[in-house]
């Protein structure tokens, strides 16, 4: 009896103590929680502002880039004006800077490369997008195509110099034109290989996005696979395929190293596709170290500015088309 009374009193007091400590704990816990919440909010703010800072610095970088190009090319813009674009001779020794041969070289190589690469990239896109979208072979092919884009361009240049140039030379001998081996045609071949992945990967994505209900509708009317591709898939994905071509054009225009190695680097207006020439990018790469006078350097930078603007513009248009296509 006595024992039980003590026990009960004890337990009651225990209860009291426990209650008090509980309340105290609650308070501590609350204050910890509040502190924690403040810290969380502060962390969140720091995190966000650092992200914004990094994002802004990229933007600043691009603008600074453009700004530097413009400022540095001012001397040549002022001195040469439009004769810079349409002048037919480039002779730094005589201080004559006309970039018409390079504009022509760039356009020739890029469009020739496009013409060569389009049949390949479209075929690959259709093959991977519609014919064999799954399976080890298509996976292997897809990865190989992407690998093409990952190979450093200097390696393409090497390969072009040692493998492609002799082949082109023997071909030129048979055709009866001057057998340079190097030149616009060889550069275009190299470029065509390099830009295939761009149009092929994007084209594949676009072809896979064609709704299966449309394909089924065509199949149910008795169309063959070829007819489905021709009359349903290609019309539906044409703007996406076009955007792929634009992106690979942007790549071809700006490609420097491989082209510089096989184009021949002469500042003469090319008369045929087998002539050696120069592109805007290859001139910059080749002559940058030799540019002693201010005007010479400034002209090269102005070339860079033009190249920069053209490639940015082409990329923007391409991305815009893709966006419109994917949101439809």
């Amino acid at each position: 009896m006595k024992f039980s009374f003590i026990k009960s009193r004890d337990s009651r007091s225990n209860l009291l103590v426990r209650e008090i400590s509980y309340i105290a704990k609650m308070d501590v816990w609350k204050s910890i929680k509040i502190k924690r919440t403040f810290r969380q909010i502060r962390m969140e703010k720091i995190f966000r502002s650092s992200l914004v800072l990094v994002a802004l610095s990229i933007l600043v970088l691009v603008i600074a880039f453009l700004f530097t190009l413009i400022v540095q090319s001012m001397p040549s813009i002022k001195a040469l004006g439009f004769s810079f674009l349409f002048g037919k001779t480039w002779d730094p020794v005589a201080n004559v800077y006309g970039t018409y041969p390079f504009l022509l070289g760039t356009l020739f190589t890029s469009f020739l490369a496009l013409i060569i690469s389009i049949p390949f990239s479209f075929s690959i896109a259709i093959f991977l997008g519609e014919y064999y979208p799954r399976g080890w072979f298509s996976e292997f092919l897809k990865n190989s195509i992407e690998l093409i884009a990952a190979v450093p361009s200097v390696i393409y240049g090497f390969w072009g110099l040692f493998v492609l140039v002799p082949i082109v030379r023997s071909m030129e001998l048979k055709l009866g034109v001057t057998p340079y081996g190097i030149g616009i045609f060889t550069s275009s071949l190299i470029l065509a290989i390099m830009i295939i992945p761009y149009a092929a990967s994007l084209g594949r994505e676009m072809i896979r996005m064609v709704p299966s209900s449309l394909k089924e509708a065509a199949y149910s009317l008795g169309a063959t696979r070829y007819e489905v591709i021709k009359t349903v898939i290609l019309p539906y994905s044409k703007s996406g395929l076009f955007a792929g071509i634009l992106l690979s054009l942007g790549r071809a225009l700006g490609e420097t190293m491989a082209v510089t190695m096989v184009i021949g680097n002469t500042s003469i207006i090319p008369k045929s596709i087998f002539d050696p020439g120069n592109t805007m990018a290859s001139v910059i790469a080749n002559e940058f170290t030799e540019a002693a006078s201010t005007l010479y350097l400034s002209s090269l930078i102005e070339l860079g500015l033009i190249l920069f603007l053209v490639t940015v513009l082409i990329n923007l248009i391409g991305k815009k088309i893709i966006k419109r296509f994917t949101t439809d």
């Binding site: 089924e216 008795g222 169309a223 349903v232």
Partner: protein, 252 residues
Amino acid sequence: MENTILKAIDFDAYFGENHVVKKINMEIPKNNVVAVMGPSGCGKTTFLRCINRMHELIEGATTKGKMMLNNEDVYGMHPIFVRHKIGMVFQRPNPFPNLSIYDNVIAGYKLNGMKIAKRDKDIIVEQSLQKAALWNEVKDSLHKKGTFLSGGQQQRLCIARAIAMEPEVLLLDEPTSALDPISTSNIEVLLHELKNNYTIIIVTHNMQQAGRVSDKTAFFYMGELIEYDITKNMFTNPQDKRTQNYITGRFS
């Protein structure tokens, strides 16, 4: 017996290892509307897609058994030829978005690269649209894009597109499940008229619809054909317990 246009004999369909349609034996009489109903996943759509060999377009899909169209095995013919004879309308209206209403109707001829004279084309388009009860609504806008039409009109356009090929059998895969009640009843009325010229097989999960439009009804459950009878008998006096449960709404 002579009236039978389509006959499935011990027909099985698989998705890889998955046995989705099991040993179907079914005869479909000419100029009838046959409804195929059953809970979702019972293989009714797969069975329908086997009839015009659309099933095999899916990777890993295989079939076994015979599907006789006018006593000729569909699986012995070229699939292109089969699909000319057996037209199909899908669950969601799928007119070609880049084609006009006119071009949608003759899309079958265009796709197959058949050259036909302009006058014949006009006749085919008008007749098909009239049969699909769409002519009066679209005759002034034949060269507008088909996607401007309402859902129900688009579905009737798809029916017109299918019957423009002059098929013998028309397969409809839940053709009204994406449509409102008015468009649905339009299409149901249309089916009554179409059965004079075609044999129609319609998959539906809607029992009322099966009761309204069909002459015969088949009930599929877990890939098997449980019961197949004249629609009236089926709904008033189902033989199988599972059919009865389904009709009375005890499972769906």
